[in-house]
Amino acid sequence: MALLSKKDSRLILDPLADNNPITIQVLGICSALAITAQLKASIVMALSVMVVLAVGNVVISLLRNVIPGKIRIIAQLIIVAALVIIVDQVLKAFAYELSKQLSVFIGLIITNCIIMGRFEAFALANKPWRSFLDGIGNAAGYGLILIIVGFFRELLGSGTLLGFKVLGDPIAKTGVYAFGYENNGFMLLSPMALIIIGIIIWAQRSRNKALIEE
């Protein structure tokens, strides 16, 4: 990390583990859970949030001395909404099937608490470059959880990863299916996402006792 000073690299690395936006700060769960049944959708969602959060953080940071305090929420919402429209249109143009699958959840990036949370907590008080790094770091922490959840749900739920049949063919009974393994269709249903995140939180807090509540 010669490129970044130690302080700057913490901005990226902290949210990946001990200050994770989903498991510690409890931000941005809203639009995240329903789309993690497949790894591909999770990755696209994570990238979209990263683009919006990094660019949005820079824009807010540049405007931080111009935006009047009283109407800052509306100003922030408009900036995010404009960015999300761009992401949505790009997805519709280049990945139409995927954008159908994500349905309203791309639009819900606007009200994703991560975005507003980082704007309020960081971008309004810091310089553009640091805000950019903070955006990348937090979106990466968010994406990491999304990808872990998507990985397990797709692997256990349909036996595939990114659409490739890594566990063999369930109809022709090849691979692990030859030994009588069955897909757990329950993993595809949305409540399992919550339970998997619960387990991730459990694992993380068992490892780092300082994070335990109460």
Partner: protein, 248 residues
């Protein structure tokens, strides 16, 4: 009849929290005590009931394909759909502000109980989600849009009330230390969501339109597994699909 159907469907089957996870942030953050949960839940019902019909009007007369035809026939092929995010969120932010001012003026006691939550609501995913689902599900009339906003607000209210009550009780239970607080709340919510799935069979045989991509998937005749995948993503759009999946 369709009003009653939509009402119960929005509360139980398409419950904002348990089926689509909308508004999870405030749901997790403000569910430590029942009294505050009731305040936030009431504010959500209120704002959803106001914003969904307004956004329905915007969608119908401004945004959707050919909506501008009332201006004259030459406007018939305009489609301003790409502006819907920004217009919806602007409506919501201004309505929340307006509601706050009106409530403060006419009912100070209500304002005191809702007051702190109202500004938070502008960024609650449940509110924008209500409007976006209203748009993607093609709710046909203003009355139904009003009904949809009100009843999905009630669904959200019930969910936060239930989890707040459980969290008040669970404080006295012996939960493993790393799971305490957030972790156990996630798992309980997951279990409650599984419970709410049993409502899926409550209204069957409706004349609901099937999502477009499901029809296209059937054309391609993909294998059973892939069909299940598309069905699952469709479940985010309509939870009645979930019931068919569980039956399988």
């Amino acid at each position: 009849m369709e009003h009653i159907e939509l009402f119960f469907k929005s509360i139980f089957i398409d419950n904002m929290i348990f089926a689509t996870f909308l508004g999870m942030c405030s749901y997790l953050a403000v569910s430590k005590k029942v009294t505050t949960a009731v305040g936030l839940g009431a504010a959500v019902i209120f704002v959803l009931t106001v914003t969904v019909p307004i956004n329905w009007l915007l969608d119908q007369y401004l945004l959707r394909d050919g909506a501008l035809v009332w201006l004259g026939p030459e406007y018939a092929d305009y489609n301003l759909g790409f502006l819907s995010f920004i217009l919806f969120i602007a409506t919501i932010a201004t309505m929340v502000q307006l509601v706050e001012i009106v409530v403060e003026k006419f009912s100070p006691s209500l304002y005191n109980s809702l007051g702190i939550f109202l500004p938070l609501i502008a960024v609650n995913c449940a509110i924008l989600g209500g409007s976006l689902f209203m748009q993607s599900r093609d709710i046909p009339t203003l009355g139904l849009a009003l009904n949809y906003g009100f009843s999905s607000g009630i669904g959200w209210f019930l969910a936060i009330l239930a989890i707040a009550a459980i969290r008040e009780k669970i404080r006295y239970s012996n939960v493993p230390a790393p799971l305490r607080g957030l972790g156990i709340t996630f798992i309980i919510t997951g279990l409650m969501a599984i419970g709410f799935m049993s409502f899926g069979g409550m209204l069957t045989g409706g004349d609901e339109k099937k999502p477009a991509h499901e029809a296209s998937a059937a054309e391609v005749k993909t294998e059973q597994i892939q069909k299940e995948n598309t069905k699952e993503t469709a479940a985010a759009v309509s939870v009645s699909e979930v019931s068919t999946l569980t039956k399988q």
